[in-house]
């Protein structure tokens, strides 16, 4: 079994690095850690980076998950190859560009590009936000899935994720006590569905709602509260149509032994208990 410890970073291609930086700093609130040739590294917490924009195509995306050590990396590569996934061993140069010691890359069954990384760097300096959004750190992703049932089996049997709850056939999966680190959303093709950063309080969620609305950043869902995780949230559009989320108050699953995932119906109140409805966000139809 591939033991994922945590989500580590997201890499997004973009044709317009300048706009991406402006959005990431003045709207989202991330801190520029480093500007390299054709790459922008952004921080949201004590890690040296959690979001990296690279100059290129928006469909060029990757999600990095941290695993224990290089032995585990080798075993993971072997497991994935046995299952028929093509595995790319990252070169030293590629690893340096991801600020990790070593990594392998592969595609999940839907075609999402996943990287398993070892020893991702942390920064000596604390995170200092570009705007007072109250961000405490990069927390989780929504991932497109062309077959949620099949992909749930991949993440829970090949990897160590556990389902915390389901909405329709969307599994919200954890790799540690945090309610979910991966949410699979039915879609017609691969891609990162949303990128979540945690914020300090509900006040921050509401402040960002007004702040972003004033700046005409499209609010695609919220402000709201997920009945599944309990978190108060706001989803909004960033560069190249990527959806970003702020949330706070995600439940923790303390009792691994006895937790049973709940089934919520595929309807608006399962996504938001306050009454907000998604607008323009590609929340999948269930058939």
């Amino acid at each position: 079994m591939i033991n994922l410890k945590d989500v580590s970073y997201v890499r997004l291609g973009t044709p317009d690095m300048e706009s991406a930086e402006t959005f990431a700093t003045s709207c989202l609130g991330l801190q520029v850690a480093e500007r390299a040739k054709k790459a922008l590294y952004l921080r949201s917490d004590d890690r040296s980076h959690t979001l990296c924009y690279t100059e290129g195509d928006p469909s060029d995306q990757a999600v990095g998950f941290e695993i224990e050590d290089e032995d585990c990396l080798q075993q993971a590569a072997a497991t994935l190859e046995r299952l028929g996934h093509r595995v790319h061993g990252g070169s030293a140069d590629e690893a340096a560009r991801r600020k990790v010691r070593a990594f392998i890359g592969f595609d999940d069954p839907s075609g999402n590009h996943i990287e398993l990384v070892v020893r991702p760097e942390r920064s000596g300096r604390r995170y200092f936000a570009s705007r007072d959004a109250g961000i405490t750190g990069f927390s989780h992703i929504g991932l497109n899935s062309t077959d949620p049932g099949r992909d749930e089996r991949f993440w829970t049997q090949v990897c160590n994720a556990r389902v915390s709850d389901r909405i329709g056939d969307i599994p919200l999966m954890r790799v540690n006590a945090i309610h979910h680190t991966i949410a699979l959303v039915r879609a017609s093709k691969a891609g990162i569905q949303h990128v979540n950063h945690q914020v300090e309080s509900s006040d921050d969620v509401l402040r960002s709602y007004y702040f972003l609305s004033e700046r005409r950043v499209p609010i695609v869902f919220g402000p709201g509260r997920h009945p599944t995780s309990g978190a108060r949230f706001l989803y909004f559009n960033g560069p190249d149509g990527m959806v970003f989320e702020y949330s706070v108050g995600v439940d923790e699953i303390e009792d691994e032994a006895t937790h049973r995932p709940r089934q919520f119906g595929f309807e608006p109140t399962s996504f938001c208990m306050w009454g907000s409805k998604p607008a323009g966000m590609a929340l999948p139809n269930d058939k």
């Binding site: 509401l206 402040r207 007004y210 509260r225 306050w274 009454g275």
Partner: protein, 292 residues
């Protein structure tokens, strides 16, 4: 404060308002806002929001049926209040038995503040034996406080001080007054006319504020301001407009004033002094903080 150590007044106890269409306003209060209708008597429909028998009454007409009820400690406190208000030059008279019956109280003084707002000082308001049970789950826990329009802030402040209220903070000339351990129960807003600005009802949690907000949006009920958060009191609010421009507010999370006394703080008259989150009021000058 009395020599006994108890305050002269203890709570905002009811709101009486006049409506141009009684039944439309009654429907708003119960079906939209979430109050429980309890009685119809003498042309007034009574509603409750908590363990008191009645916290809101609506009557037909011009405004004769409007007043804000403030509960006094007891009938002895009313005697003291009458003396102070008279000495301060305020209009005050003893309520008749009929006036009291209409107000569901045992004794009362009918007074006017410096702006001409009718303030009833009452003793022994009727409680209810049954618990509050509304027709929809708005999460209301009690009538919390009021916002009042003031055309003479200096006189109005003097009026409330005679009752023992103290200023917690100012935003421009907007004055937040406390009568118990919470930051404020009465807020005075400079205005061009007197009258009630809003009646605030506390709800259980932020969840209720947000649910009520989406509920209103879905039904195209006008939200005057919010959801928002008052910086000086930390109170989360949602101001909802009903018939005749009446504003009922859902509130939550007001902080206590605490045991260490501090001077009242002055905030500038600006939208960010009335809402920390960034909400702005629509079409209500008293809440617009000087912005047109």
């Amino acid at each position: 404060m009395n020599p006994d150590g108890h305050p002269l007044v203890v709570s905002v106890c009811y709101i009486r308002i006049a409506a141009s269409e009684l039944h439309a306003s009654a429907r708003f209060a119960a079906d939209v806002f979430g109050l429980q209708r309890v009685a119809e008597k003498n042309g007034e429909i009574a509603f409750r929001s908590d363990n008191r028998f009645r916290t809101l009454s609506i009557s037909n007409g011009s405004g004769a049926g409007s007043s804000i009820g403030i509960e006094a400690w007891d009938e002895a406190a009313l005697v003291g209040i009458e003396k102070r208000l008279t000495k301060g030059g305020f209009t005050v008279s003893r309520a008749t038995t009929d006036d009291c019956r209409l107000r569901y109280v045992q004794a009362a003084l009918l007074a006017r503040d410096g702006s001409g707002n009718s303030i009833d000082l009452v003793a022994r308001p009727t409680q209810s034996g049954r618990r509050y049970f509304p027709s929809r789950d708005a999460g209301i826990t009690e009538l919390h406080g009021v916002g009042i329009r003031s055309t003479d802030m200096a006189r109005d402040l003097q009026f409330w001080k005679e009752l023992g209220a103290e200023v917690s903070d100012w935003v421009g000339d907007i004055t937040y007054l406390r009568i118990d351990g919470l930051h404020h129960r009465i807020a005075l807003y400079p205005a061009k006319r007197h009258g009630l600005l809003y009646a605030a009802f506390e709800v259980e949690t932020l969840d209720n504020i947000m649910q009520n907000g989406y509920f209103m949006q879905e039904r195209q009920i006008k939200i005057v301001q919010g959801p928002g958060r008052e910086p000086c009191s930390k109170q989360i609010f949602l101001h909802v407009e009903g018939p005749d421009g009446i504003i009922f507010s859902y509130v939550n999370g007001m902080k206590e004033i605490g045991s260490v006394r501090r001077p009242a703080r002055q905030f500038p008259l600006a939208p960010q002094s009335l809402c920390d989150w960034g909400s702005e009021a629509k079409d209500v000058p008293e809440l617009s903080a000087g912005v047109n």
